[in-house]
C-alpha cells in the first residue's frame, strides 16, 4: 500500500469516528488579515513555540535535578559538567524562558497598541494577561531552582514584596516561603509550582486563549478596519507555514544564544553571607526593582515600599480590565492619550531596566 492511500484512509477514519468537521471548517475557512502590522501576529505563535521548548527541556532536566537544599546546586552542576549535552539542555531551557518572556512582552504591547483587545475580544485579552502573570510566576519560581546566591536573594526580595501587601502579606509570604525564611521548604514549594501547578494552570488558560483566537480570528487594527481594499491569507496552510518560519528563526536565535552564551551556574547559596553588591533579579523584574530603589522610605504616613508595591498591583489590575475601561476602543476609536501613556510606560520600563543593568550599586 502506498503512502498517500494510507494517509487518505487515516483521514477518512478520523473523520468518520470523531466528527471533526466543525473544527476542520474553522481551520480551513479561517482567514488572516494581511496589512503593514501583520508581523505582530507572529509573536503569540513564537511564544507558544518557546513554551513547548520549555516543557521538553524542563522534562529532560527533571531526569537529574534534585529539589533539596543540599542537592539542588550540585545536581545542576552535575547536569552542566557531567551529563552529555547537559549544559546545552539547561542553556536552552534558561534562554527559551528569557526569550519567551521577551516575546510575551512584545505580544502584549503590540496587542495594546493595535487595540486588539476591543470587543469582542475582551476574554482573549484577559486570558492573555493571566498567561503573562503566570509566565512571570514560572520565571520567578524557576529562577530559585539552581539554588545559587543570585536566585536566593532575588527570591528573598520577591517574597518579601508579596509580604508587603497590606493585611494578607504575612500570610502570603509564609505560604510562598513555606516558613518565615527562604529555605529548603521554599525550594520544594517553588519546584512544585514551577513544574506542576503553574504549567497546569497555563495549559488550561492557554487552551481558552487559543480557542478564542481560533473562534474569533485575528483582530484587525482600527486604522486598517475601514479600508476599502483588504487583503488576507488563509490560516491553513499559508499563515501556519509563515508561523513555522518564524518558529525556525526563533529556534536559530535560541540555539545561538544557548551555544555562544551558555547559562551560568553562579555561587552556591550561603544564607549567612551579606547580599553581594550588584545583586539584581532577572531582567523582566528589573524595572520594578529599580523603581523600588527610588521610592523614599516614607510617603506621608505610609512605608514607601508598600505604596510602590500597591502601585504595581494597581497597574496589573488596570492591565487586566483594560478592555472595559478603554471606552474609546469600545466605540472603535483610537485614543491618543492612551497610546502616549503606553509609549511612556514602555520607555519607562526600558529606561529603568537599562539603568538597573548598568547600576553596580555604590556603598
Amino acid at each position: 500500500m502506498d503512502a498517500p492511500k494510507i494517509k487518505d484512509r487515516l483521514i477518512k477514519w478520523v473523520e468518520e469516528n470523531y466528527h471533526i468537521e466543525p473544527f476542520k471548517d474553522i481551520v480551513i475557512k479561517k482567514q488572516v488579515p494581511l496589512h503593514e502590522y501583520s508581523a505582530w501576529y507572529y509573536f503569540g505563535g513564537i511564544t507558544l513555540f518557546l513554551f513547548i521548548i520549555q516543557i521538553i527541556t524542563g522534562i529532560l532536566l527533571l531526569f537529574y535535578y534534585k529539589p533539596t537544599e543540599g542537592a539542588a546546586f550540585e545536581s545542576v552542576r552535575f547536569i552542566m559538567t557531567k551529563v552529555e549535552f547537559g549544559w546545552l539542555i539547561r542553556s536552552v531551557h534558561a534562554w527559551s524562558a528569557n526569550l519567551m518572556i521577551f516575546t510575551v512582552f512584545i505580544h502584549i504591547f503590540s496587542t495594546f497598541f493595535l487595540r486588539s483587545y476591543r470587543p469582542p475580544r475582551e476574554l482573549t485579552w484577559i486570558t492573555g494577561v493571566f498567561l503573562f502573570f503566570m509566565t512571570l510566576g514560572i520565571g520567578f519560581t524557576g529562577y530559585l531552582l539552581p539554588w545559587n546566591e543570585l536566585s536566593f536573594f532575588a527570591t528573598k526580595v520577591g517574597t518579601q514584596i508579596a509580604g508587603s501587601v497590606p493585611y494578607v502579606g504575612g500570610f502570603l509570604r509564609t505560604i510562598l516561603r513555606g516558613g518565615e525564611e527562604v529555605s529548603d521548604a521554599t525550594l520544594g514549594r517553588f519546584f512544585a509550582c514551577h513544574i506542576i501547578v503553574l504549567p497546569l494552570c497555563i495549559f488550561a488558560v492557554l487552551g481558552l486563549h487559543l480557542a478564542f483566537v481560533q473562534l474569533q480570528g485575528m483582530s484587525e487594527p482600527l486604522s486598517v478596519k475601514d479600508r476599502q481594499e483588504k487583503k488576507s491569507i488563509p490560516f491553513f496552510p499559508n499563515f501556519l507555514l509563515r508561523d513555522i518560519l518564524a518558529w525556525m528563526l526563533a529556534l536559530g536565535v535560541l540555539a545561538s544564544l544557548a551555544v555562544y552564551l551558555p547559562a551560568e551556574l553562579g555561587k552556591k547559596v550561603d544564607p549567612f553571607v551579606s547580599t553581594p553588591a550588584g545583586i539584581k533579579p532577572e531582567w523582566y523584574f528589573l524595572w520594578m526593582f529599580q523603581t523600588l530603589k527610588l521610592i523614599p522610605s516614607k510617603i506621608f504616613i505610609f512605608d514607601g515600599e508598600v505604596i510602590g508595591i500597591l502601585g504595581f498591583g494597581v497597574m496589573g489590575f488596570i492591565l487586566l480590565i483594560l478592555p472595559f475601561i478603554d471606552i474609546w476602543s469600545r466605540k472603535e476609536k483610537k485614543n491618543l492619550f492612551l497610546t502616549l501613556l503606553g509609549i511612556f510606560m514602555l520607555i519607562f520600563m526600558i529606561f529603568m531596566t537599562v539603568w538597573g543593568l548598568i547600576d553596580k550599586g555604590r556603598q
Binding site: 526580595v157 518565615e180 525564611e181 551579606s274 547580599t275 550588584g278 523614599p296 522610605s297 514607601g304
Partner: protein, 146 residues
C-alpha cells in the same frame, strides 16, 4: 410583575448550590491549611557567641547566625563592638558593613544605616534592631535587648 414560585425545582437548585459550596469548601479548606507551614521553624534564641576576641580587626565586620536569621557584628574604626540584625528593614536582603564609608549598606536597594542602626538614606522604612554586645573571656556574646 415578578412572580417566581418557590417550586420544588427552585428548592432543589438551592440545595445543590449550597451543597456544591459546602463540598468545595470541605476540599479547599484542608488544602489551604495543608499548604500553611506548621509553626516551629523559628529558632527563638536570645543569646549567641558571635565571634572570638581578636577575630575582628577594627573597621571590619562579620555576619553570624542569630537563631535562623543573619546578624552583623561590627568592630568600628574606633574599636567599639556593635551588633545588629543583618536583615534589611526594606525587603529582607542581608546588609553588609562598608569599611570605606563607615556605615552599614544594603546592596539590594542602596539602603544605608549608621552605626546606631538608624537609616541614613535609601528606602528602608525602619532602623536595624540593635543587639547587646558583651565580652566574656574569649567570647563575644551578642544578646537581644530587653
Amino acid at each position: 410583575m415578578y412572580d417566581k414560585k418557590f417550586t420544588r425545582k427552585v428548592f432543589l437548585n438551592y440545595i445543590i448550590g449550597i451543597s456544591s459550596v459546602a463540598l468545595f469548601s470541605s476540599i479547599a479548606l484542608p488544602v489551604l491549611i495543608y499548604i500553611t507551614p506548621p509553626k516551629g521553624d523559628d529558632i527563638d534564641i536570645s543569646k549567641v557567641t558571635a565571634a572570638k576576641v581578636g577575630d575582628l580587626l577594627p573597621n571590619s565586620a562579620k555576619i553570624f547566625r542569630f537563631g535562623n536569621k543573619p546578624a552583623i557584628l561590627i568592630n568600628t574604626a574606633k574599636g567599639i563592638l556593635k551588633a545588629f540584625t543583618a536583615v534589611c528593614t526594606h525587603l529582607n536582603c542581608t546588609v553588609q558593613y562598608s569599611p570605606e564609608a563607615g556605615h552599614i549598606w544594603c546592596a539590594c536597594h542602596n539602603g544605608r544605616f549608621d552605626l546606631n542602626g538608624k537609616v541614613i538614606s535609601g528606602p528602608p522604612p525602619r532602623p536595624l534592631e540593635e543587639y547587646n554586645v558583651n565580652v566574656a573571656g574569649e567570647d563575644i556574646i551578642v544578646s537581644k535587648k530587653d
